[in-house]
């Protein structure tokens, strides 16, 4: 059992199943994965229940039921090491390749090698880079210069060449390599890239202050497939489906213009005002801040765009149309 899934042996209290079709799960440390419970996420089949409006606390909403905090449904759990959301943690320790616009250039940030034990292998890093580039992040201009922030990662000439070619395929130009490793600097010079070698100290002072301000939204056009994990210290917008076995962990909101079937966490660093929106909300599990809700046993027959948010101590789901009406009315 993956230790990241909140699990406990605490026996489940004999609370009656909630009749509001949403989960009330304040503490993710008290899961009872073996106790099945009724639909945790489901709402659009109910005609405008009060509990779905964010501003009206549900008057007779039942006591939080820890059994709602189930692990992802067993039948959909397969061989693929399917990533589990982790408790909120500062951005620096999240091993993730990032592309970031800054002053008309694009920074390609590689996760530091010293981030043990979670350090990424070259293969993982390469896959993630290719995925990101193919997902067509749209905030860059064609032929933007790219500055590779390799930090303390050791890269050989072949790997630098590969990165440069992958960028060229996405119509981006690798202009400069910043590294704190002499070997990487030498390798970059041999393949004709301009290099700036930095001391590890300047590299440290360059990492952003963790968790203060959200990064700009990550906008990707792709099918997020099984085995892919996207982490971003800001809002994530996906134009496409988020498939079972994939996961998105965002410090901001998560918007899916497609079917959301994977595991998605919004407000991962603790902001429970974050939301998850999808044209078709059919997730394995969703989390907002520390609140968890999982897929209903009986899926909807029909899907409408929905919004998941936290209100009165639990994850609520509302039809997008009604949600925005509620929000806009005084």
């Amino acid at each position: 059992m993956n230790s990241d899934i909140p699990v406990s042996d605490t026996p489940v209290p004999d609370t009656p199943a909630p009749d509001t079709p949403v989960s009330d799960t304040p503490a993710p440390n008290t899961a009872a994965p073996d106790t099945p419970s009724e639909a945790a996420i489901s709402a659009s089949d109910t005609p405008v229940p009060d509990a779905l409006t964010p501003d009206t606390p549900a008057p007779d909403s039942p006591a939080p039921d820890p059994s709602e905090l189930a692990a992802p449904n067993a039948p959909t759990d397969t061989i693929g090491s399917h990533p589990t959301p982790q408790p909120p943690q500062p951005e620096v320790t999240v091993p993730q390749v990032r592309l970031k616009g800054e002053d008309g250039r694009l920074l390609l940030l590689l996760p530091p090698e010293s981030d043990l034990p979670s350090a990424m292998t070259w293969t993982e890093l390469w896959l993630q880079l290719k995925n990101r580039l193919q997902a067509g992040e749209r905030f860059w201009q064609l032929n933007s210069p790219v500055h590779l922030m390799a930090r303390d990662r050791l890269l050989d000439a072949r790997q630098l060449q590969d990165i440069s070619e992958a960028l060229a395929e996405a119509q981006l130009q690798l202009k400069r390599v910043y590294t704190s490793r002499r070997q990487t600097a030498v390798a970059a010079a041999t393949v004709g890239l301009s290099v700036e070698q930095q001391s590890a100290i300047t590299h440290l002072s360059q990492t952003e202050a963790a968790g203060q301000v959200l990064a700009e939204p990550l906008y990707i056009q792709t099918t997020v497939r099984s085995g892919i994990e996207i982490r971003h210290p800001g809002t994530v917008v996906v134009l496409g489906d988020v498939n079972p076995g994939s996961s998105i962990v965002a410090d901001g909101d998560v918007l899916v213009w497609g079917a959301l079937r994977g595991v998605v966490q919004a407000g991962a660093s603790g902001n429970s005002r974050c939301m998850i929106m999808a044209l078709r909300l059919d997730p394995t599990q969703i989390r907002i801040a520390d609140f968890v809700a999982r897929a209903p046993e009986n899926p909807h027959s029909q899907y409408l765009p929905e919004v998941a948010y936290v209100a009165s101590g639990g994850v609520r789901i509302a039809k997008a149309s009604e949600f925005s009406k509620e929000r806009l009315s005084p």
Binding site: P75, T78, Q134, T223, G227, I228, D241, N243, P244, A259
Partner: protein
Amino acid sequence: MSRIIVVTSGKGGVGKTTCSANIGMALAQRGHKVAVIDADFGLRNLDLLLGLENRIVYTAVEVLAGQCRLEQALVKDKRQPNLVLLPAAQNRTKDAVTPDQMRKLVNALTKVFNYILIDSPAGIEMGFQNAIAAAKEALIVTTPEIAAVRDADRVVGLLEANDVKKLHLIINRIKPAMVQQDKMMSVSDVQEILAIPLIGVIPDDERVIVSTNKGEPLVLSQTASTAALAFQNIVRRLDGEKVPFIDLTAPNDDLISRIRRFFGSRD
């Protein structure tokens, strides 16, 4: 330009080797020069399905070690002169070959063959990496089961990241009766998740198992079967023909006669 196609799935036992053998044979029957490569080093069995086991002298590993020439390792099919098999070594580990070596082998084969089919091992480890290294296209095989579809999805992502972008889906072992009772994922359920173009749907049929055991791909059989027809249709679609999908929900005997009529009226 030869077409280099990897047959892969992620999950084991879903029918990659069965598809490789039948599609390879059906391509050869249509007059293409075909090489099928067993990339399942250590656990080869494409030779068994093709009934060629007893004719293997050398394998890809000896070719790479310079112990024989490539032509010497190619096993010719006595029933179908257009088809050859490049066998994998049985006794070596999967690490006996690298992606670069695989590219070299396949590259040499493109000089002679129009179609090169690579039967990939299960999983996404080194053996899989070798199998996809030279491929320009992929046939993703899945069965209509959640676990198989999940793994197929993973493999699609990996193929895309490795610049294999022409992908087609084969759904194998569908049981129409179970689908109708809502006990099995339907073709459209699978397609909705994987979102890649469908090239074939093969019914679950015990004749497939019988043919496996005889070492005689189903498409060689004299008696018509829906499964064999499904393989032949895949091959026609690979060749660029537009072939309507077989309606598997119709009763079986009736179906064969309807297909006969369909072909009769068309050809």
